[in-house]
Subunit: 106 residues, 2 copies
């Protein structure tokens, strides 16, 4: 689903990843993180797609909200497992969304 976000400015975190072939436990953790993140303070929405590359973009009210999610305890454990096992490589880009438009026109 395309995320329904408020008028800019707000923040986006672009998480781009390449997975290893060690998939054990990944789907469960991803599902659990999706359930957790929606209750995180300052969370606005997220979008996800995976083919060769995985891209997840999450949207946030503020840098403080992003920091809060980064440091959330279960999420920190997931991050460690990710580096140990699931991800061959990833990039995280923290961005200020300045402008947004779409189709059908809104």
């Amino acid at each position: 689903m395309i995320a329904f976000t408020p008028s800019p400015p707000y923040y986006a975190v672009i998480f781009t990843s390449v997975k290893t072939d060690k998939d054990s436990g990944y789907a469960e953790m991803a599902h659990y993180m999706e359930k957790l993140v929606i209750n995180q303070p300052g969370y606005l929405g997220h979008e996800s797609a995976r083919s060769e590359l995985g891209i997840t973009v999450s949207y946030w009210e503020s840098l403080e909200a992003i920091e809060g999610w980064k440091n959330q305890l279960a999420h920190r454990i997931a991050q460690e497992k990710g580096k140990e096992q699931w991800y061959a490589s990833y990039r995280i880009r923290v961005c200020l969304v300045e402008r947004e438009y779409g189709f059908p026109n809104t």
Copy 2:
């Protein structure tokens, strides 16, 4: 491939889309756009994934570079075809990338 981008600040355009089932000509146009964009002034890289949702993030030196690509003639024709036929809906978010980090650490 994860895009290799310079130190922030630079710009990102997050293009999130839901396709229709009218796929005719889409793959050819997407392939042609990928060939064109890499020669566009101010282009820094892009990343793409599609499952239920499609997400393409392109990276740019400046807002002027983004505007240049938006108005590129063949790209404008592709945008029109996209609205007529290929996309049920999409959102475009123009963002200033403020911070970037990754794994393995860089």
